[in-house]
Subunit: 589 residues, 2 copies
Amino acid sequence: MLRTHTCGELRLTDDNTTATLCGWVQTIRDKGGVLWIDLRDRYGITQLLLEDGQTSAELFAISRSLGREFVLKATGTVIERKSKNPNIPTGDIELKVTSLEILNPAKVPPFLIEDETDGGDDIRMKYRYLDLRRNPVRRNLELRHRMAQQTRVYMDGQDFIEVETPVLIKSTPEGARDFVVPSRMNPGEFYALPQSPQTFKQLLMVSGFDRYYQIVKCFRDEDLRADRQPEFTQIDCEMSFVEQEDILNMFEGLVRHLFKAVKGIDMAEVPRMTYADAMNRYGSDKPDTRFGMEFIELKGTFDTIDMTSGKGFSVFDSAELVVGINAPGCAHYTRKQLDELTDWLKRPQIGAKGLIYLRYNEDGTLKSSVDKFYSEADLKAWAAHFGARPGDLMLIVSGDCGKARKQLSELRLEMGSRLGLRDPSVFSALWVLDFPLLEYGEEDSRWFAMHHPFTSPKPEDIPLLDTDLGSVRANAYDLVINGTEVGGGSIRIFNRDLQARMFSILGFSDEEAKAQFGFLMDAFEFGAPPHGGIAFGFDRLCSLFGGADSIRDFIAFPKNNSGRDIMIDSPSPISQAQLNELKIATVAK
Amino acid sequence: MLRTHTCGELRLTDDNTTATLCGWVQTIRDKGGVLWIDLRDRYGITQLLLEDGQTSAELFAISRSLGREFVLKATGTVIERKSKNPNIPTGDIELKVTSLEILNPAKVPPFLIEDETDGGDDIRMKYRYLDLRRNPVRRNLELRHRMAQQTRVYMDGQDFIEVETPVLIKSTPEGARDFVVPSRMNPGEFYALPQSPQTFKQLLMVSGFDRYYQIVKCFRDEDLRADRQPEFTQIDCEMSFVEQEDILNMFEGLVRHLFKAVKGIDMAEVPRMTYADAMNRYGSDKPDTRFGMEFIELKGTFDTIDMTSGKGFSVFDSAELVVGINAPGCAHYTRKQLDELTDWLKRPQIGAKGLIYLRYNEDGTLKSSVDKFYSEADLKAWAAHFGARPGDLMLIVSGDCGKARKQLSELRLEMGSRLGLRDPSVFSALWVLDFPLLEYGEEDSRWFAMHHPFTSPKPEDIPLLDTDLGSVRANAYDLVINGTEVGGGSIRIFNRDLQARMFSILGFSDEEAKAQFGFLMDAFEFGAPPHGGIAFGFDRLCSLFGGADSIRDFIAFPKNNSGRDIMIDSPSPISQAQLNELKIATVAK
């Protein structure tokens, strides 16, 4: 090794020993007679000292030629610092330099390599290798490393076998769009990159592997949103001879282990809620349960109440659902603030038609935007129904069930944020259960699998497959933390006939089902065990643990929203010779 | 869980307890009044017992409807076996069945699910999920799992950080052929799948990550040989502030750890040999050192000897090299056997023009195919030079250095196999050092990087870059075990100018170098540390540890020699809609 120690290692107990360090110049302070260099590596920072009368003129000259981010090799004697720095572990000592070698000079970086940088997104992405030098970014990847390690510790301890499934697989039309790979050896044919190893992990169960896991790259060619990446990583798991309860317990165990091992947090038992309940109480199948502010219906299906009809307010009269939340302590909102909130809710992304408020003033009086329709007694009854107290603000939307709930869910999250109830260092987990098996796609006029086509219906709901597809519940579950779906899975179909029926419901002809998933249905005929599993979004889980919103900060070399890696400038054109070999051509845009 | 125990778990200490097992029917023995079922899962086999007078007629009826590979759930009482089976851990007990449920029936498998199967390669690949049920195949993947686990244990313990590098990267013309992925969002442009994460791991060193590793899928679109796969797995590693010696020690440590942890073998210190020595002594840069039979030159460059010229044998007179091996105890080879060996060596794959033998008979006389040219004194001198003893057989080839060594290397391996000197349970490792930096490609009339373009020349050989490219040695090393290259790496170039010069030597124009590797050369200007690394072929390492020749047996879902997965029938055509979205077209074959 070019060094004897790292830059995070020396202590007062090393006093008077000789050490050689390698690292990057973080800062130089030149006081004329004394010159200090902060030398940085992954492990920390150590102060180098050059002193008039003690250090040769030659070393001073070298030091004065240095710039930020130069790579140095410095040898010297460890001495106690006169002025100690209690903020860093090496703060008690410094290295009195006796030799100094520039291993590599550095041009001035295009942005500051500091915790707070002056570089914008684009420049930091182009020079991602410099951005990765910054402590917060490096710490994110160190967190990710620990998360992966600890995931394996837990899974290995539970007898799961890590099996690598193939990356070059087969394109299937169900689900998101595939990335495809032309096959040179099989002209005109293509591999696809896996959106998940779903069918392979099920085959491993048919093979008797019993417990499988993998931390694995998956791929989806979707138009990218802020927190989507074309390649992403899953913790992918499957177990045999299990029921839903077994999966919930096993993977609640994983998440609790990760919280304990990585963050030192003892996580409470994870509560459970049905999909129907989550939609009624939070308007979302991934509610943020760090705070309450649950939905209260003034007119609705939830508790069959109607406190709004027949008073001449046609908006409510014609609405399927009138539902609101009580924002505690928000009665002080001005008319202007309420208008802004209304405008926020009416943006196309949310699409509400309006927002009704009921303000419970500190003096006990009530004020509402609809008080010309409703008497004070009506409004008092509403406030009581909301459980509101003086100083609170009730926010109410109406319309058809689906839309109203979705809008109010957004408003609830917004109010939670405004009230500081969404602290990223607080973690609230929830199992959401009993998802619908199918959802109807209006655009395509057909049924889609809400989870995927391999999810089993609840046995007691199988008769509904003949009569009421929308009511069939799935043996499917999501793990939600802080309003983010971090994992989801299901008990699978393991019977050929039921699987074939499922494909038929999803609009596959027998031939299509056989061509695309024949191997799986065949496998079910050779002794397939009952099985189920789950997959966690690893990037998302890491960002959640790191208290960040974007997964991009937890990926070493992410792509931008156009799917480009601007550092390596990819994707890029390939040569005509490559196209010829692959027997493909590009088509004019 | 549907079971209380696995099929490998119950012991005599569980006597008289109730247990529920799940698994597959391995065998059924029906003796009329008594019926035994061997129930199998990943963990073992447990014998189920049904007995007249003790077991209900209904259970007997169910049992008699069973076939091989049916999936069962069986509950019963653990009892001591009358006739114990010492060959299996559960052999002292059996489960006296009180209830039996068929979880899933099974069609008759297309081949026997036994250690020795009757299924050919093709049928086993088509039904890979059944092949994976066989103990030897499952054990291979369990070995792979342990290898991965123990690799991580070692690397984590040495402060390496696991970082995931991207799979969708950029196509570069150097090296093997890339698999490419058309970008829908960037029409006319393509990603490439990585042949290795080489540039990314170097960038991580520039980022100061100091020690990186990853067990990672890589991809090469090559015409497949028996033991190549289009997707394969590497243990990929890189370290900063190191010299070659540090890498050798660190990764010799990894291999020794794996041998100890996975196979219980204390591995001797790994000897080292230069490339030049390996070529001279074994005719190969990956010699199998489980046995000696080293090359002895009768005329050559190695020890500047010439014991063959001027005796009228023009084949040797005109040869650059006359070189042989001494096969101990093979003097009994008949003329017919020698002719067969000669024919074997003359096959196009090896391409020798002939084979000269010198037989040292047990009675001390010598017999050679060239004894009309050479006197008994000549032949005696040869035999002495070979260190041969009565009963030995010397096998000699001649020609130009490169070809003769290659041919004799093949012959040496063949003789080693015939003599039983290549026991797969014996492991002999070797570091091969000081590889040439460049090799001349006659076909393309240009120099190629022997390792890759990022490998640094030995500092003392840098002046030779101006005068004698073929003599420049690289800071590159391979780890060879039993004649297989299991890992290779190098100390990297970390200086922009030297890297640019290397690209220029390899025939890149400045523009090409900048377009393809500009990001890396840029990175070298912002403070790149000295660094180096290594990558191990993980599939190969697993097959070596498993004592097998083919990597395919250590991959869960391998592809065949045409790059096809015949189980899922991939690659396959994709829809015109997909092609349209990607703005590509297939071209007639």
